[in-house]
Symmetry: C2
Subunit: 372 residues, 2 copies
């Protein structure tokens, strides 16, 4: 056997994007990929193999178990062993999220396994012209959906008891989410986890939101659609308030907006990701907005400042205190400071931008205004 | 330490449904669940913990790292070790799809790990009254979307060159898929992977479908929506042909329809899953429809006859030759024989049914007719 070490991947939610990137097509669940130098082998069931052969990149060889003399079935370890033997590969690199059952089985069969931290496609961070175009399209869909949502909230009537009313019924998170999803569909995009969270619920960054919307309360709208055609994501968040906002909410909103402006202003190739985060965090803290955990519930600026966007909604590079990494031209990241307090609610403002040598480009712009 | 063995799960696409089932709420990515007897501990970041505490079942204790004296961050192995120590647990059971990096790290720390095949929630197979209601709702959404899609295709005009035309433009897979998705949204359901595949493309069961639709060709429409509210899925497939179908296509359609009828007729508690599959396979084979793999591409009846539907779109019990298991009252399964040949195209007919002691109940009915 050759002494070559190859990278081994099994398709699951964790690395579907890597396989998609390497093969140019979304893989079926349980597909096995082996990358050996520039050669890529993609092992899929006979049922999936025809479609895969039609659509993968030229440097990818699609193999089905029958071609290896293996009966159909889902013994992934057996598939992999046979393929490694055929290609004379004796050792493989895997990520920590590789399934332990298959890893142990390969170890028992004498395959040398190295668990490495390096991602299988570090190049994925830096986007090509085609990728920038695809993300820009998804971002445009997100912005159009955001405008439709804000328009729907802005045109709602305020009832005597401070509820938002549309026609003869209450305007709810669900109705605004439906408006967003219908708009996205017109761009062949879907966004299952769209957030329209108001009042107390908005203080939880990952709360999807439910029920009637109130006047004078923050409404956090976070839209992250994926294109059905390209597989690339977009991501945008706005916070709005129908009718007059309290002085406290205005102060919180202005702090987040100023933090985002300061972060955007410093973006360019060569800037450190954790420095970007700290700039936003310090600005908000200097205006009196503390971050702390009370009874196991985090309050203040309780998440990172951003993340890469591509074939995954959250990918490298992370813009967070835990990641010390230089931004590069071609990175596409979100810039999304936020503040969350149970007494007032949440405020988050997020845009997706392309890093350039001397600054950044907004992928699709959308107004920022609290009171509507 | 106690000699108790507990089940350990980390939320990812593979077992999100188990954690959802055990906790009554959809977990965030990377959540850690430890089930020890009837006690369930759910470990999530401080940012997620407030929402989780509000929504989990009573028997679930939500814990965030700060409560264990651990600094924020994503060292799952450290979280788990600390929690196991605190709860005096020295060994854990995991599934084969558990991430190898965390497993190896726990082994190095002296935690006894047992990889077991038994699923963490075998009870998930048998649905409660509430679950049946939820799946029926998703299935109703799927049927309404199917009717809208078929209506759109049926009302298309046939051009001189045998293409389907709607208004002044071609009717495409994309347009029918949009109709389906818009309809599903009105039921708070989403179905990212809806299939509308026609002609040659329909010969691949997992081809999503693209481009203009032709008259006289099979169009396979497979709709599997998930409810945003409940998280439960529905699943239905119909095959239609706008205008007259060829004799060969009619024969293929009738074989699949007869196979499904024979399979449905035999359903009841106590029947073996592989017997159900074989009944359909033999009926179609007796009508001359062979199954084989040519040049790595499978043809004929190339998939199982069905699968369980619940918090996952594909879950136990599988109705396939590889699964010898008795059906039980409360199982909800699809019954979906199909035939696929590159020369003619694909035909699949699928319904989702509830198994009862003496038969089955269709969750939501929808007409079956080839030519429209």
């Amino acid at each position: 056997m050759k002494k070559t070490t190859s990278r081994l991947l099994i398709s699951s939610s964790k690395n579907e994007a890597d396989i998609h990137y390497l093969c140019g097509v979304r893989p079926p669940e349980g597909a096995v990929l082996i990358k050996s130098g520039k050669k890529i082998y993609l092992l899929v069931s006979a049922m999936e193999s025809g479609r895969m052969r039609r659509t993968v990149r030229q440097n990818v060889t699609v193999i089905s178990p029958d071609q290896l003399g293996i009966k159909p079935g889902k013994n992934l370890s057996q598939w992999i062993q046979k393929l490694l033997k055929e290609k004379q590969l004796s050792s493989v690199e895997i990520s920590g999220d590789f399934p332990v059952g298959v890893a142990d089985s390969l170890r028992r069969a004498g395959v040398k396994i190295h668990i490495i931290k390096q991602p299988p496609c570090p190049r994925r961070e830096v986007k090509s012209a085609d990728e920038i175009k695809a993300i820009r399209q998804s971002q445009r869909a997100a912005v159009e959906a955001m405008k439709a949502a804000i328009q729907q909230i802005a045109s709602a009537r305020i009832s005597r008891d401070e509820m938002l009313v549309c026609g003869k019924t209450m305007l709810t998170s669900e109705k605004v989410r439906a408006t967003i999803c219908h708009t996205l569909l017109d761009f062949d995009c879907a966004a299952e986890e769209t957030i329209v969270a108001s009042g107390m619920l908005s203080a939880d960054p990952h709360e999807r939101g439910t029920g009637p919307l109130q006047a004078g309360q923050p409404i956090v709208i976070d839209i992250f659609p994926r294109s059905g055609k390209t597989g690339y994501w977009g991501d945008i968040t706005r916070t709005v308030c129908r009718g007059p906002a309290s002085a406290a909410l205005k102060k919180q909103y202005n702090a987040v907006k100023a933090a985002q402006a300061a972060q955007l202003k410093m973006l360019k190739a060569g800037v450190w990701t954790d420095t970007v985060h700290r700039t936003g965090a310090q600005l908000m803290e200097s205006r009196g907005f503390k971050t702390k955990t009370i009874n196991g519930v985090a309050q203040g600026f309780i998440h990172g400042s951003g993340h890469g966007v591509g074939l995954e909604i959250h990918e490298a590079p992370r813009v967070s205190p835990a990641n010390h990494q230089k931004l590069r031209a071609g990175h596409i990241i979100t810039v999304e400071p936020g503040l969350y307090y149970p007494s007032i609610g949440g405020v988050r403002i997020e845009d997706t931008v392309l890093i350039t040598e001397d600054g950044y480009k907004m992928l699709c712009s959308c107004p920022k205004k609290l009171e509507i």
